[in-house]
Symmetry: C2
Subunit: 299 residues, 2 copies
DNA sequence: TCCTTGATATAACCGCCGGTTATGGATGTG
DNA sequence: CACATCCATAACCGGCGGTTATATCAAGGA
């Protein structure tokens, strides 16, 4: 019923060369393959496209009718590929676990369209299990993720540096404190990211700071809603960045600073081997916005 | 590199339905097959065309760019198929062993273009080994052939009925006669059509009229040139229709009537199961031209 | 005359594509 | 909480799109 555009290219090559052998050479395929494909095309269309003779091939009536259509279709496909390439050059696919928030994305986006009017940002929510938010599989051009991230394949600019809080149900014994130390939490059950998150999971369990003390993982969490429910129902505690506190401020959960934990770092990351021009300007704009912000409101 | 138009149709279906499942239903394929094909298309183009969500699919930037191109290509292919169908409706492929000659083809062709201005005759020379001149393999719509022909699958109109002559080298003992009888030829070596010609081979050996007398086949012949050479060099004799005599009148061969052989019949034949409108009018015109001719020059 | 050359067709083979069914996981809903 | 819906994945299978090797045939040259 339908045709492979490749077969149309084959057909046009034979129509141009009027020779299967030479056409096969220009197409870099073997002559039998070309003959077979053309025969299949003829069988499919129920018409003969060429009159084979010992001297070569001649176009039949149907063949000459087909030529202009085939040319238009091949040209259209070339145009389509070019258009897609252009579109992909001016499109940035951004991965993120939760929205980066912090009012950074709207501002950068506004600046970006001012700089490149035909630029388009495509946002993609990605599962917490995917630590690189699509960078690893090349599904995204850049991603808002929390450190740590392996340095060699990835590069990044800092978006925010925020203290780590611990979230717990309002009824928790520690809930009355002003703040806590990590030592207060060592025996508490914790919520953890999926195992596939690797070092990131360890980071939000403060595994390094715990030293030899083991951590008790109460459950795995895959999105904010799940996390809120698990914390509120007392299943376990959970570390989170101060900037994400508003998402949890819903009454059943209270959050306390953990005094002796280093702040967490939210970055815009990308793959060092994949840095198209638009990404470059986007990164520049992000750095710029963040920079101006840290000046106006220094911590 | 190139695309199958089918995949573009698949893509358009998903773009229209914004759902893989529903699109698969409208396409009468399974949903996994559709998903796989779209993924393959995305991999090939190195862009993602849809954003999959639990609620269904949304077009990505690249996807919306592709839509108009895909629509144009699909439409173009539909148009091409329609054009080919129209062309094949107004094209008649004629098979023939040697040109039918007798001034019939030019006249019928002239009348045909007068009746159907966009009609086109496509002539196809075909090997003598193919007794039906392409009718059997459906390679031709009609063919100029000599009887006999099996009646059930084929039908025909008579183009010419001509006495059979025998051709021999000028040096042959019989060459001085005014005419010969079959009895004079019984011991002579004859040239024969290839075995695959079947009953037609027998006919031009006058096998039936020979009765029990065996025929001595000197060689097989595949075209006029070969035949002329074989006759002229004395390899064997050969029967031929009077109308084809001019082709052999070149000095080294003489032709004599065979008194007691029935005349041969040249017909325009076609397959009874394949008789498109244009063929019908062509047959009518042929019959008409022949009819008028037999009236003006009765034998 | 024979051999070579160059054209297309045929055959046997093989990996991958394009379909199938079965199944699982995520999401919204009564 | 069960259920329906939607998309993804897996395993499987026939056929397509390529390969090399070979046949056939027409044309041309020593």
């Amino acid at each position: 019923m339908d045709v492979h555009v490749r077969d149309l290219r084959y057909f046009l090559a034979v129509a141009r060369e009027l020779s299967f052998t030479r056409a096969a050479e220009t197409l870099y395929i073997s002559q039998p393959a070309l003959s077979k494909q053309i025969r299949a095309l003829e069988r499919q269309l129920r018409v003969s496209l060429f009159a084979r003779e010992s001297t070569g091939a001649r176009l039949s009536r149907a063949g000459s009718e087909l030529v202009p259509f085939a040319e238009r279709m091949v040209a259209e496909w070339e145009a389509a590929k070019a258009a897609l390439a252009r579109a992909s050059d001016s499109t940035l696919v951004l991965g993120m676990h939760t929205s980066p928030g912090r009012r950074v994305l709207p501002e950068v986006r506004a600046r970006l369209v001012a700089a490149c009017p035909d630029a388009v940002l495509e946002l993609r929510q990605v599962a917490w299990a995917d630590r690189t938010a699509g960078l690893a599989e090349r599904a995204t051009d850049a991603a808002f993720v929390w450190l740590p991230l392996p340095q060699p394949p990835y590069r990044w600019v800092t978006i925010a540096r925020e203290p780590r809080l611990v979230a717990m149900a309002t009824g928790h014994p520690l809930a009355g404190r002003e703040s806590v130390a990590l030592a207060d939490l060592l025996d508490e059950p914790f919520l953890a990211l999926p195992a596939s998150a690797g070092p990131l999971r360890d980071y939000w369990l403060a595994l390094e700071e715990r030293g030899t003390n083991p951590v008790q993982v109460a459950a795995e969490i895959n999105d904010t809603e799940e996390t809120y429910e698990a914390v509120a129902s007392g299943i376990g505690l959970c570390l989170l960045a101060a900037g994400n506190a508003p998402i949890f401020a819903r009454g059943d959960v209270i959050m306390l600073p953990v005094r002796d934990l280093s702040p967490a770092e939210l970055v815009l990351a990308w793959h060092e081997r994949h840095c198209p021009p638009l990404l470059e300007t986007f990164v520049g704009l992000c750095a710029d916005v963040v920079d101006r912000r840290t000046k106006t409101e220094p911590t």
